[in-house]
């Protein structure tokens, strides 16, 4: 008798269905300060379903903290934060757990659990927090590890992997439970350009092949523009290719730049390149 699937299908609709453009994340006048140090002042932005938002900014600009606020790991001092229609700034830790089942996060350096194998890391949420049958979880883990091309490393410990492999395992872990939103916190920082590209490719594949809405926090301009200007195409034999995106596809990725707790730029890749703002010009150079 076939086992009924308990891994919930991603509720995000396929493109061109009603609600495609609905906001999945909304920041409205969000502020955050630690004692005298102001991190975010009146920050407002929106992420629409199936789109990607790239948050740029210098170190300490509040990029990573924005993701932590979004995930409820940190409470903002003021403003409204909505994720999939829920006011996460008002939810308790217990209530937040339900929202988090629909969000995946890739942390800086991966944050893999040292004492668990790659398989256990990737399937952690399904193994530990759901009643999904083990054979079904194993199948899903193998599937996502195949997606990030790390199937042969399934029984290794995180310490046996290279930096790039660890980040890709972190991506596999974040996507394993089919989240609707994926958050990438400096997923390519510290990696060489070639390895960073393999991580960027995973971000693109998840966006274009799995229709995941995502927020990418980075200060690596090369990676930010690569994600914005490329798309994944599935071929007839099931393989995929990363190709240059057309201008229309490019506009689906928004850039947002933070400086001293304020948004100093919001727009697409073309607008960012053409910006005449001195700070942005300095940042881009």
């Amino acid at each position: 008798m076939p086992v009924e699937s308990k891994i919930a299908p991603r509720s995000a609709p396929a493109p061109a269905t009603p609600g495609e453009d609905e906001p999945v994340v909304t920041f409205e006048h969000v502020s955050l300060a630690f004692d005298e140090k102001v991190i975010l002042k009146d920050v407002s932005f929106m992420l629409r379903r199936g789109r990607t938002k790239i948050i740029l900014g210098a170190s300490g600009a509040g990029k990573s903290l924005s993701l932590k606020i979004l995930l409820g790991l940190l409470k903002s001092d003021g403003g409204e934060v909505r994720v999939l229609g829920e006011r996460v700034d008002q939810l308790s830790e217990l209530e937040m757990m339900k929202v988090r089942t629909k969000i995946g996060m890739v942390f800086q350096e991966g944050a893999l659990f040292d004492s668990l194998t790659v398989r256990e890391n990737v399937g952690y949420r399904l193994y530990e927090e759901t009643d999904t049958p083990l054979e079904e979880v194993d199948k899903r883990v193998e599937e996502v590890l195949g997606f990030v091309s790390l199937g042969e490393h399934i029984d290794k410990m995180p310490s046996e992997l290279s930096g790039g492999q660890r980040r890709r395992v972190a991506i596999a872990r974040a996507m394993c439970a089919k989240p609707e939103i994926l958050l990438y916190d400096e997923a390519t920082t510290g990696l060489d350009p070639i390895t960073a590209t393999t991580v960027d490719d995973e971000v693109i594949k998840l966006r274009d092949l799995e229709n995941v809405s995502s927020i990418v926090v980075t200060h690596q301009l090369r990676d930010a523009f690569y994600v914005a200007t490329h798309k994944a195409v599935k071929e007839e034999n099931g393989a995929f290719r990363i190709v240059t995106a057309d201008p229309e596809k490019e506009r689906e990725t928004d850039f947002l730049m933070l400086r001293d707790g304020l948004i100093v730029f919001e727009g697409d890749a073309k607008a960012l390149r053409e910006s005449t703002d001195d700070y942005i010009r300095t940042f881009l150079s």
Partner: protein, 258 residues
């Protein structure tokens, strides 16, 4: 200047106490409600109990032996050498067994827990747990505290026993006290109240040692240097707490049991 320093120190101290109490409240809630991570609990029983056995056996054995050696010399002055077993058993069961086992656990287990949780904090693994829908208190703290709570008394009983065996070896071969005399003196010198005191105390000490280590570990900040600092703080605070808690619990139990 001095007043400002005292004020800042006092605020920090009050904050630590407040956070420790909050951890204990979250722990109580985590114990009373589902989910319960039973595999982690079993794993911690092994890590805290079985893995600490060697150090507890050695400590208990040599403490009992040296107790017999030292008290034998003193008792000789009163011609009371045959009652050395009574002194060893009373000292081991009421005081030295629980306290020394507690101190050994603080050094071995408390430092390990603080370092492990501290490393998880600074590498974002705790945040990753929360992001994956797991409450770190239930997953990490509850199994460790329960294991400490149950394994500290078990280890203490073992330490008491090997301490008496150590005392017997010294009494028999160094002090030339007959084995029968030694063991009957142990039996005669023990009261039920002593046994209760020796069993109740390690439950409390086990709880205190592990909760302090978890609290310190989870409040780690400042990278790998912070992990080192947390490990030291967990051992120092845990050791002082063992001695202090032992005094207050002894005081309470004496008034209740005797």
């Amino acid at each position: 200047m001095a007043a400002a320093l005292a004020d800042s120190w006092l605020k920090r101290w009050v904050l630590e106490v407040q956070e420790y109490v909050r951890l204990c409240a979250a722990l109580a809630h985590g114990m009373a409600t589902r989910p319960f991570y039973r595999y982690d609990f079993v794993e911690q029983l092994d890590a805290i109990g079985w893995a600490s056995l060697t150090v507890v056996l050695l400590t208990g054995f040599f403490t009992g032996a040296v107790l017999a050696l030292q008290s034998g010399v003193t008792l000789d002055q009163f011609g009371a050498r045959p009652v050395v077993g009574r002194l060893v058993s009373a000292s081991m069961i009421k005081e030295l067994g629980p306290v020394l086992t507690g101190l050994m656990l603080t050094g071995r287990v408390g430092s390990g827990i603080a370092a492990e949780l501290g490393s998880m904090v600074v590498t974002d693994q705790i945040n990753a747990l929360r992001a994956l829908g797991t409450d770190p208190i239930r997953k990490l703290v509850v199994p460790r505290v329960l294991s400490g709570f149950f394994m500290a008394p078990a280890l203490t009983i073992i330490a008491d026993f090997v301490g008496m065996v150590g005392g017997w070896l010294v009494a028999r071969f160094q002090l030339q006290v007959a084995s029968g005399l030694y063991w009957s003196s142990i039996r005669d010198g023990l009261y039920m109240q002593d046994v209760w005191m020796g069993i109740i105390k390690p439950f409390i000490l086990g709880f205190v040692i592990v909760t302090i280590a978890c609290h310190v570990g989870l409040r780690t900040s400042g990278g790998t240097q912070g992990v080192g600092k947390s490990t030291t703080v967990a051992v120092v605070a845990g050791s002082v707490a063992v001695i202090a808690v032992d005094f207050f619990v002894s005081r309470l139990l004496i008034s209740l049991l005797y």
